[in-house]
Symmetry: C2
Subunit: 384 residues, 2 copies
């Protein structure tokens, strides 16, 4: 009997024919692909692989071996950093979430940590903590996203305070970090980067910019950047609305698979799913697939969202329910109970496409994969 | 070091000030409330408490003790049923998902199981399995939702086949099950129930209908029903767009809590969050809250979605990101770093309201709570 406060998940193999497949080799490929987009040579920027949200839903423990080629990991909070250490990661770790309270500073006492500092009190908390290991710190500029960090008017005072701590040996090196609000837009980086560079002009210390979109669209700009921080693209999804992962030579690291578990022959005018959100225009054959929003498939997905049945592209019908969804079997007349279904990540169906049909982004779907979905690891032989 | 194929979750207390609070007493209250909506006396329908999706995200192990007053549990698949047995549940268990393959029938060999049968092959699989314990079976009518089950034209043949198995001792009693597509609509049950009753007219065996919405809106209709199957309302959410949980005397069993972890003073015209989806009309004070879509907060939530900061109702600003969101601190000028934030389920903010602002339903948010969010159990003393 599990402890009362632990989430339940099925033990062993489950009867339900739904599973995600995680391909760590794809992550290794994508990492190499992102490296290739950066300036090469002695001044080449280093790369933090972002593994927030349990490696975007792929599972940190599954993905870490594929990230041996990264210079560091970027995580959300200190507990995540300690977990990476327990999983055997020896390299640098950047902690985005940093310190939430004075007591958190005590968790920093481990070698190789880099802390993002977003407000002045965090510097005080750090200075007062009795630490054997002092983290490198990165001041976050509020930039154009305004999700934590120092405003332009406050940045230099924060830098002076941080530098003073560093000189007293209370922190390691002080760097400068920015995050773009619009890196996926064609003109989304130029002005934001210019503002940031003006704020830090003349200040010593390394610079970190560039998520996946900035790196892929503006890799040359990274010549003035010491550390980049891709996330989404490592997992094989495109950050751009107008360029696919395949076009970017990125390989999906997660695919989601199920089966047809029921066949409904509905008459013209009959509704399918809750509220009759889809009404059959003619008599049609509908497949019921065991996967629903409680598995992490988006309930916002609309009729027409692509679904692959036995390798054939067809479409979702009506509203996704908690545990199942309906698909059009018109293009797959041979489909029967047990026919395999791919919901994303294989057979040419990118998770980005499903996300777009649901009015959201790939990271939302990947990170939202529910713990109840069993995961299979792709073997190296079948990783392509 | 955790096994490589297990999802990572933070161990022990995390530094991040985000947690869900689960109140099992509220579930016990809601169960009693649903009982009261049903006809009383000798013919009163029995009640299956639906605990699919890990008890709608609340955690089966946490909730089962509060369901002692239920006549049975309803789960998705056979592994879930076996897990309930391991957690100490001795009563009846209804398995919605039933059998996906012939081999699954071997999992049925436990006392007290009720299997939903949705297609004819499942009866064959069951008949051929060498079982010591024979489950009761429920034929699912496809009804007006067409998510698995027998069409009206096929229902009687299925019943005859099932009855023949039952007479040979290969299954237990044969019942009739229907699920409504529109129970939350004022006229959503009458016609659907009439069609169902016509299909089963004259057939022996118990009848099961009525999810939360049907039970609360049409409780008297349950007089002809032997088993009802509420889900959502057990967890304290209203299934109706026009009636709140409070109006229905339902108490929320989950609340979600975080803190302000950053303050941004933005200028007029500045964007907040990705893509500048919110632009400040005037200079304003914005709170950054550590909770994002990777925690299960809906990325579809729009500017204006209600958020409670230190007991004061204010609003979400711009796009929710993976780990954080921005809120308007205009109505809470005293808010500072560390100020408590309620995202749903307390201080009068129902999860249904947040769901509506995100274009979805409460069950989507509850079941979507991510495994990375730590859970605290409400003590009996503070359960109100």
């Amino acid at each position: 009997m599990p402890p009362v406060n632990a989430p339940y998940r099925p033990e062993g193999l489950t009867a339900r024919p739904l599973h995600a497949r995680i391909d760590a080799d794809a992550v290794a490929h994508n990492l190499a692909r992102l490296r290739a987009a950066l300036p090469a040579g002695a001044g080449a920027p280093r790369l933090w692989a972002t593994v927030k949200a349990d490696a975007y839903g792929h599972g940190m423990a599954r993905i870490l071996p594929a990230l041996r080629g990264a210079d560091g990991l970027a995580v959300l909070h200190l507990n995540d950093a300690l977990a990476c250490r327990r999983m055997g990661w020896q390299g640098a770790i950047l902690v985005y979430g940093g310190l939430y309270s004075p007591a958190d500073a005590l968790l920093v006492d481990a070698p190789g940590l880099h802390l993002v500092i977003t407000h002045a009190a965090q510097l005080e908390w750090l200075a007062q903590a009795p630490l054997a290991h002092r983290p490198a710190i990165w001041l976050r500029f509020a930039g154009d996203i305004h999700h934590t960090g120092f405003a332009a008017d406050d940045y230099r005072a924060a830098f002076d305070a941080a530098r003073a701590l560093s000189r007293r040996g209370l922190t390691g090196e002080v760097g400068h970090l920015n995050h773009y609000a619009r890196a996926d837009e064609a003109d989304g980086v130029g002005n934001a980067d210019a503002v940031f560079r003006q704020v830090i002009a003349g200040l010593p210390g390394p610079v970190s910019t560039s998520n996946s979109a900035a790196l892929l669209a503006h890799g040359a700009r990274a010549a003035d950047t010491q550390w980049v921080r891709p996330g989404l693209a490592l997992y094989g999804a495109s950050p751009f609305a107008d360029r696919s992962a395949a076009q970017l030579d990125l390989r999906p690291a997660m695919s989601l698979h199920s089966q047809v578990v029921g066949i409904q022959r509905v008459k013209a005018g009959a509704g399918v799913g809750y509220s009759g959100a889809f009404v059959a225009p003619d008599a049609m054959r509908v497949g019921i697939v065991t996967c629903g929003y409680a598995d992490g498939y988006p309930r916002h997905a609309i009729t027409g969202t692509p679904v692959i049945v036995d390798g054939v592209r067809t479409r979702l019908l009506g509203r996704v329910s908690m545990d199942m969804m309906a698909v059009d079997l018109g293009p797959v007349p041979h489909a029967c109970i047990g026919t395999p279904v791919t919901l994303w990540g294989a057979h040419g169906l990118a998770v980005e496409e499903v996300a777009a049909s649901a009015g959201t982004i790939a990271a939302d779907l990947l990170a939202g994969l529910n713990a109840r979905v069993p995961v299979q690891l792709a073997s190296q032989d079948s990783a392509r």
